[in-house]
């Protein structure tokens, strides 16, 4: 599955790579918030300027981001079409029954597309430059305050890190199963819709079986080593908040303030 880029970590030594995962998570959420505040050309220019400079700073080639968008392409196309057809207001270019293409519809379609792009690219940047386990650690640290209201933060973090850890393993497994079924004459990704749906069964059933087997193996292994939740474990990997993290955060806050001024 060479094409699938989501959830992949690309090692590097850049500023972005070295940041604390907590900082990256906070900044990413803040950025997504900003994206929803943007509502005119200038504000979108600002949003993308911030995004592109962050990407450049990470040293990861742009090709990866384009690959990251591909799996969600159809969702984007669908949303844009809905917006164009059903968005109302402004000059009417074309209409047929209750469907019409209007100026306002086209503009909001473009904005929605830009939002999609910005959010996907930012989350891709986060996963490309942060190891899955670091993301899980970051989430756990950020959610710590919720422990006061007895929210099972550690369990959640464990679930998250297990899930993230096994994404690549499952992908490899899926590739192997697909190869084995190809050798038995399955054509993945060709033929009509009916044909294609049929090829899903020989892939998904073995994949589920192996995922369940693996899950039960892990559960048994954890129990055998005496795992129990809520024990206030100390960490082998410690997170360190550094100057770079504060500086990056500050830049984003400034960008946010500027955005509030230039939006309509």
């Amino acid at each position: 599955m060479d094409k699938f880029i989501f959830g992949r970590f690309i090692p590097g030594e850049s500023w972005v790579h070295k940041m604390d995962p907590r900082a990256k998570l906070l900044i990413s959420f803040f950025f997504i918030l900003l994206v929803f505040f943007a509502n005119n050309v200038m504000s979108y220019v600002l949003v993308f300027a911030v995004l592109i400079s962050s990407i450049l700073l990470s040293g990861v080639s742009l090709g990866f981001f384009i690959k990251g968008i591909r799996p969600l392409l159809w969702l984007m196309v669908f949303t844009v079409i809905i917006q164009i057809l059903f968005g109302a207001g402004g000059h009417v270019y074309w209409s047929w029954g209750w469907i019409s293409i209007t100026q306002q519809g086209v503009i909001s379609a473009v904005y929605i597309l830009l939002r999609f792009l910005a959010i996907i690219m930012m989350s891709t940047l986060l996963t490309l430059t942060t190891q899955p386990l670091q993301i899980a650690d970051g989430v756990e640290e950020l959610l710590k305050p919720l422990k006061k209201i007895h929210f099972p933060v550690e369990t959640l973090a464990l679930m998250l890190s297990l899930a993230l850890r096994f994404v690549p393993t499952l992908m490899d497994e899926a590739t192997k199963i697909m190869d084995a079924q190809r050798a038995r004459g399955v054509d993945f990704g060709s033929g009509g819709v009916k044909q294609q749906v049929k090829t899903v069964v020989p892939l998904l059933i073995p994949l589920f079986v192996s995922a369940f087997n693996r899950a039960s193996d892990i559960a048994i292994a954890m129990e055998a080593r005496g795992y129990k939740d809520g024990l206030n474990r100390t960490k082998y990997r410690e997170l360190r908040w550094r100057k770079q993290d504060s500086i990056s955060g500050l830049i984003y806050v400034v960008a946010g303030v500027v955005l509030l001024f230039i939006r309509n």
Binding site: K176, I177, A180, R184, G185, P206
Partner: protein, 292 residues
């Protein structure tokens, strides 16, 4: 009609930071009706090599000729069915790829995909389940209720059911008990001898190499280190150790005998039969010497 590799290089994940060259300049030939064993250290590229032979992976540069059909980097993914029916492939741990409701349906899956008629495919399933040494009342059971060894046999039957002329087996006996191992290897040998199928076997079992193969390909770090008969490959002990390979057990035993003063004038025996014949010969000579 045979399989030839011409200057084949293969890279995993081409043009990405994860690019990794798994095959380096491979040139080799596998003749029709031969029994070829592929050996080598873990990660040496054996699985990558055999997956080129039915175009599951395609050479990054160079080309492969399978029965007159060329496979290059540009070969389209369409119309490969004829090739894949011709060159059957049993993967590592094939039991993890079963999915149908019943054993019969699973075995019939390949043949039906390759365009065999329903009735013929069913007949094949019934015949092959027996041939791989399973009871025929297993046919209507779910493959997921079977033991690991039984599942392995069902998976092998599923590949054989398409009646491939060339059969690739990637460590088919890994993780089986000694009896299961023997039975599977005897089945493979039977297919080779009685039906004249070309066999390509990836294995870590040097005994099987010594016993069945007529050509051995030694892989190391993505390169073909040596091609030759088992006799040639197992003759140089230091060379084998250098490439992290073992001798067949019988040969190891013969070497210990040598250290105790025994001598094997022709060559070291590779399997029990050769050892027995050699011993019988020498004991016989000594025996007749005493008589005379």
């Amino acid at each position: 009609m045979s399989i030839t590799f011409n200057k084949v290089n293969y890279f995993y994940q081409m043009n990405s930071p994860f690019q990794h060259q798994a095959l380096h300049d491979i040139n080799l030939e596998i003749k029709d009706h031969s029994f070829t064993a592929i050996i080598g250290h873990t990660g040496s590229g054996k699985s990558t090599l055999v997956q080129q032979m039915n175009a599951l992976l395609k050479p990054s540069t160079g080309f492969i000729d399978v029965d007159g059909r060329q496979i290059t980097a540009d070969t389209s993914n369409k119309n490969l069915k004829v090739l894949r029916q011709h060159v059957g492939m049993v993967f590592q741990f094939p039991e993890n790829k079963l999915f149908e409701e019943t054993v019969k349906k699973d075995v019939m899956f390949g043949p039906l995909n390759f365009g065999m008629g329903e009735a013929k495919a069913e007949a094949q399933a019934i015949k092959l389940v027996k041939e791989v040494g399973l009871d025929s009342d297993i046919l209507e059971r779910s493959p997921f209720e079977l033991s690991g060894g039984q599942m392995r046999r069902v998976a092998i039957a599923g590949v054989l059911a398409s009646d491939p002329q060339t059969l690739i087996l990637d460590e088919p006996t890994a993780g089986l008990d000694p009896r299961g191992r023997n039975e599977i290897m005897e089945l493979v040998q039977k297919l080779h001898q009685e039906q004249g199928k070309t066999i390509i076997l990836v294995t870590h079992q040097m005994e099987d190499v010594a016993k069945y193969a007529d050509q051995v390909i030694v892989m190391d770090e993505g390169q073909v280190e040596k091609i030759g008969s088992p006799q040639e490959v197992f003759s140089n002990i230091e060379w084998l150790q250098k490439h992290h390979l073992e001798l067949p057990q019988t040969t190891q035993f013969a070497i210990s005998m040598q250290k105790k003063g025994f001598s094997f004038p022709d060559h070291l025996p590779l399997n029990e039969d050769e050892l027995a014949i050699e011993l019988a010969k020498q004991i016989d000579v000594e025996g007749s010497g005493e008589l005379g």
